[in-house]
């Protein structure tokens, strides 16, 4: 009897202590940061957009600006951006000190993947569609930089730890299809009104569709030399059937989260290349300078954008040699070369690239879209007058850079500018596109150069380097974790191997 009683008491103690033990250990819920279920899509979507536009206007724009003939550095910056200036593929692919285009690109694709999956589960066609369009854009960018990349097995977490690569051309087509799906989804979404969390188009579904179509047009123009005209035609006709058209005058894909005048909250391009929160010059503004070739091109055309873009030195505009072969020549010192111009050098008024700390970030500008349409019209791919697109594009560029509209007529009247005067219309379009996208969407300058060899800006002047950068080598992180797939892509060199649409 007594034994039973003790046993019961002991058992009760054991059971109580076991359950309290479970409770004792139950302290592993994160009280500091929310998990995915806590957050609505509206709290995730803007962050993914900002992350994407940051990569576009900082990392990719910087690579494009150096490889696309816009930027060099003065003597004081001769050691900065050394790997870009010496086309040092192995160093660029390094994890430490390298340039993680691959990693940031796929991370951004993942952000939209998680939003897309949740939106599909919630039946929210707008977020699902917008995410698809953004993913399509990001995949296209990665092909432009690396060529063959994973698509079907990408961003699936541990389901595919070492995703299989696909041919660059196949990824291009799949990405274009993804954008088409995205446009359909966005259009199928009910009217959503003005959405504060859509910091790209404020919930305007038509602009999303136009943006998607412009991305597709960019992808098709990229293939102009690749020889598959039938594919291009069929995609163009799908865009035509869809009917929303492309981004036109006044239609800009600007990301505007409402930058603030606090450290880390300023427009990132402003904060990285111009001024810090206290209004002081940042290091890049001290050392980044236009190339001599770029200055020459503006001067050749008496381009009014030049004085909006750069600070004159002793009355003239002075560029540098990309690659710093002559790092001791005082001609290329900081004080003797033209810095980027902003309000501080313009009596406080907006100037050129720098208007104010809270200016929106450019994902894709109306003038780029208009130049794309000009080229497509010139090639007979779309209807419309190439000259009109061309002139509208220049006018939009003038507007962006604070050049008074009244100056356009004189500018356009010059033989070196006028569309009708050009013997090679494509070249004329690319020249002006190059001048307009300077430091804004510089990636396109490198892309156009690889595609058409235009304009013919000089390569690096650093000693002992032959050739031009044609692509990035696969990153070290990828070689360490997905080595077999990397090896299967064959030769992986920067100056010899081309992306699929680059035919010569």
């Amino acid at each position: 009897m007594r034994t039973i009683r003790y046993t019961v008491i002991l058992l009760m103690i054991a059971v109580t202590s076991l359950s309290s033990c479970k409770k004792f250990l139950d302290v592993n819920e994160n009280p500091n940061e929310p998990g995915a279920p806590t957050l609505p899509l509206a709290a995730k979507f803007p962050a993914a957009l900002v992350s994407t536009v940051n990569q576009e206007t900082l990392q990719l724009n910087q690579i494009g600006a150096f490889f696309g003939g816009y930027w060099g550095t003065n003597n004081q910056g001769s050691s900065s951006f050394f790997d870009l200036k010496t086309y040092n593929g192995p160093a660029i692919r390094n994890q430490r000190g390298g340039i993680p285009v691959w990693e940031n690109g796929y991370n951004n694709i993942l952000y939209f993947q998680l939003i897309k999956e949740e939106a599909i589960a919630d039946g929210d066609a707008f977020y699902a569609g917008a995410s698809k369009i953004m993913q399509g854009m990001l995949f296209l960018r990665l092909v432009d930089v690396y060529n063959n990349i994973p698509f079907d097995e990408a961003v699936k977490g541990t389901e595919f730890n070492a995703p299989r690569y696909e041919d660059g051309k196949a990824v291009y087509q799949k990405a274009v299809n993804l954008i088409s799906e995205g446009i359909n989804d966005v259009k199928s979404s009910p009217e959503i009104g003005v959405r504060a969390d859509d910091i790209l188009f404020k919930g305007n579904r038509t602009l999303w569709a136009k943006f998607g179509n412009t991305l597709k047009l960019r992808a098709l123009i990229r293939q102009s030399q690749a020889g598959d005209q039938a594919y291009i035609e069929s995609e163009l006709s799908k865009i035509g059937q869809e009917g929303s058209g492309y981004l036109g005058t006044g239609d800009n894909a600007y990301v505007d989260p409402g930058y603030q005048n606090s450290a880390g909250k300023l427009n990132p391009f402003w904060e990285n290349y111009y001024r810090n929160v206290q209004g002081d010059q940042v290091a890049n503004h001290h050392i980044i300078r236009p190339t001599e070739y770029l200055i020459e091109q503006y001067l050749l055309r008496n381009d009014p954008r030049l004085e909006k873009l750069y600070v004159p030195v002793a009355g003239t505009y002075q560029g540098v040699l990309f690659g710093n072969p002559d790092a001791g020549n005082p001609e290329y010192d900081e004080s003797n070369t033209s810095a980027l111009r902003g309000p501080a050098e313009s009596s406080g008024s907006p100037s050129g690239l720098f208007k104010r700390y809270n200016q929106p970030s450019v994902l894709l500008s109306s003038f780029e879209s208009l130049f794309l349409q000009a080229e497509a019209a010139q090639r007979g791919w779309i209807s419309g007058n190439a000259k009109n697109y061309y002139e509208n594009a220049i006018q939009e560029s003038f507007a962006y850079l604070q050049v008074p509209a009244s100056e356009f007529a004189a500018y356009n009247g010059q033989a070196a500018v006028n569309f009708d005067n050009a013997s090679n219309k494509i070249e004329r379009i690319i020249e002006q596109k190059w001048l307009a996208l300077n430091s804004i969407s510089s990636m396109e300058a490198w892309n156009d150069f690889r595609r058409l060899g235009m304009p013919d800006f000089p390569g690096t002047a650093a000693s002992g380097i032959n050739g031009r950068p044609l692509r990035f080598m696969y990153p070290e992180t990828e070689r360490g974790t997905n080595g077999e797939n990397v090896a299967a892509q064959g030769s992986d060199l920067m100056l010899q191997d081309r992306v699929w649409w680059d035919k010569d």
Binding site: E33, G328, G480, G483
Partner: protein, 1043 residues
Amino acid sequence: MHIRKLLLFSILFFTLEASLATGLRPIEGRVYEQGNGLPMEGVNISVKGTNVNTVSGQDGRYRLNAEVGQVLVFAFVGYVPQEVTVSVNTSNIDVEMRIDNRELTEVVITGALGIKRPSREVGASAEVVGNESLNQGKTVNPLFGLTSKVAGLRINMYDSKVDPAVQITLRGTRSLQRTAGIDGRNPNAPLYVVDGIPVPDISRLNPNDIESITVLKGANAAALYGSEGVNGALMITTKTGRRGRGLVSYSNTTTFSDAYMLPEAQRIYGQGSNGNYDPQSFESWGDAFDGTMRPWGPVLPNGTQPELLYAAPSSDRRLDLFQTGINVQNNLSFSGGDDNSTYYLSAQHVHQNGIIPEDKNNRMNLRFNGTRRFGKLKSSYNINYVQNKKDITPDGPWIGAYRMPANFDYDMIRDWENPNSPGNLNNYFIPNGSWLRNPYFLIDNIRDESNQQIINGKIDLDYEFTTWFSALYRVGLYSLNDQTRSSVRKFQTNRANNTVGTIDDGSNNYQRFNSDLILKFNKEFGDFSTRLLLGQNLRTDYRKSHNISAGNLLYPDILNPDSRVGELGGGAALTQQRSLAAYGEFVLGYKDYAYLTVTGRNDWVSTLSPENNSYFYPGVSASFIASDAIEAIKNTPQISFLKLYSSWNRTGNVTLTPYQLNNSYSQTNGFPFGNLAGFLPDLVNPNPNIEPEFVTSFEAGIQFGLFNNRLNFDGAYVFSDSEGQIFNAPVSTASGYNSAYVNSGRLTNNIIELSLDGDIIRNTDFRWNVGVNFAYNKNIVKELYADADTRYKANFRQSYTFVGEQYPSLWMSDYERDYQGELSDASTENDPIYINPKKGNVVVDENGNPIKATNNVILGTLIPPYLMGLSTQFEYRNFSIGAQFDARWGAWMYSEVVPVMYEVGTHPQTALYGRGENAFVWPNSVVKNADGTYSPNTTPVSNSNKEFWNAQGKIQSNTAVKSDFLKLRELNISYNLPASLLAGQNLIREASIGLVGTNLFIIRHKDNDIGDPEYLYNNTDGYSSFRQIPPMRTFGFSLNVAF
């Protein structure tokens, strides 16, 4: 009190008459313990060769009869035996006994759970470092006092400022994870246990309070601590008072430190560019020094043009930036006790001035240790309070030192506040954002402050129910509070040298509660002895940190986040971790010479999901005292002691920190922007199914003592295999994530440890002891993430983990080389893994310029596989000299100072061959012929100028050297005041004075022109940075008085 006479004393005076007298005479005297002068009870005193013996009484007194010429032997367990010859007129012989940590037979170690065990029954390696050895170098941090004194224990100092941090590993790396846990401990650091309580850190402990540190190596000996003991344990026993007269002791140590071993710099060319002088350039690309006076910097506001002698001065000007650091330690302690209780009370104050002007660290320690017996209940308790105030300037001021021309004059820019000083930022020509801003400006305006308070204590209650059963309850609390402030004072100039004012005020609170209930059973059955321990542990860890910051302060004189424009920054984080455990240990002994120990422990931890959070792990070990068990050995007089031991165990480990099972989102990239929130997920793919990792270890060893324990040897072979590690494994980023938590990754260690210790000379007034410890560790990464076929991963900068190589390995860009058939691990062209330690000649192009190879090469490991410590102790009468040498070899190091010195032209290489066009032919270079063969190159490089050398600096192998070194780590010379001097007074019992020094000399690998390989940047391996201050050596004096 009797006038004490040291035994020497009597011998010296009476030896001459020794032969004259015969017959028994009464001898009496007292036995004291050396070091504190306390009387020793129970010392056995015998007359050599007879059966006559006695034991000292409570006050240390003894009395016996002996003849002149006979030898008295004083013996006590754990102390060096003393022998004294009875001489004529001898009637009083006082003896001091010295603790002998080296006597193997009777060593008592502090085992797991703080329970003392005779070393003989332990089946795993354990080494004891006593107070005297620990404090030989008078280090402020006790861990530095252990450096190179224990085989297999590697200790590195990093960020050698006033309060350097420590990297510590015991028996190599077991975990690929480097992220600290909630308690701040690195996953590869051993466990610290102070008086039975596991604590996160002992760096702030007063080393003078430490009686001894038992190093339980490997997982085996620490099996009962389980997860935490997987890397071995440092069992720290603090001092307790002793029964008898109270003891007061005071000591002071004052040392001075100086920077040394800066990387070599060229002294031929001065500032300028392209061979031309430029008064406003800091780069050494100007013309050669010529001894003329030249204008320097811009014209000052008062119209003067500063001038500087254009010549490299005889001294290294870079050292002018550094001052002599001062370190003053004052230590006072009281101890004593009676039959039922003891006490030990101590206070320490440490004041440190760094080698960087205005760097300060002050530490105050208070400790009270006590014991009290209430019948069958024994209690012990202690409380320790530490306050550490630090005020330093972060990296910056000294970074310019590696870049400035050899004639740069620091005195010229010291007075930066003076508007007419060239150092005033309105006049200084170095641009904003550069590393080369005026160092004195940085020192005055950029500060990191910390005020840390630690309170920890414990209560220990041990109740003896019966002779064979007792129960112990032990509870400990550790509480840390750290108030921090990092500030940059705003400064605006009329040029571009503006500094944004920022502030970050932080607070970090950490608390640990730890409780153990242990039941102890002892029983003997004939020849068998048994002991059973059953225990239960409960642990909570709690951390809360918060900070507020402002990124744009308004005024230079108000450092407060309120005086700002823009948004207030900051955040808060709260973390909790809990665990429960049940454990047991069973020891079976046979005839005091064979022991078998079985251990087991089950843990429940909060950081794993409820399905996986319970895990069990066992261990078994055995020891065999052959010198007692085997008659033949027992009867061999040369062999005093011989023990064989072995152990095996499998220890579970959880290196996950709280909240890592699920993905969390956070706001970055400037979010929130006003009302707009924006969250991004973490890029580590979480895994709720993570399980504990397990380390399997095996150890076998032999210990022996020869010639009456004059020569002691300990040798062990250890194998450990850590599998299925909780590993933040890199995965292809095309999966979306950068890495994933998985149970993967495997490392093995094959280790040999040897210690040899012997008294070369041992007699009453002269003793010379030499000890050597050696460890070799063959560490191999067997697997990273097999599912994803991960072959290598980056750790930090050029430090990588490769499957099949040692962890971590140095992987760098290099020149194209002809390899001369020596490519040791030839692989396909696309294979990233080449191994070649800079062998072969450099291949140059048709212009004579070296070619950079496309693929990187693995140079070797960054952690020295060979470690050796050598200690020597001379004692002659009242003098003693102790020295500790430290040697490590077999690894590489690299430095980020080298590329910048190439860039700015201060590296000696940039001046070695002259400058300009066609200045020299690259040494030992070859050209590749069309048929693939190589011919010697005769074409000079195109231009030995900045562009050329800047490019060479980017070839990473130029920054790497072998990190082998041998250094005199500690030297201590001390003199004990002889008893005769202290005679006739009652106040001072003992006094000694001494000289103490650390890092007094170093021998490096001949290629090493980088620095001291021991000093690391942060918690890295073999990496030297311009962010860390140069190494320093210290020298000073110390004084000890006991009352």
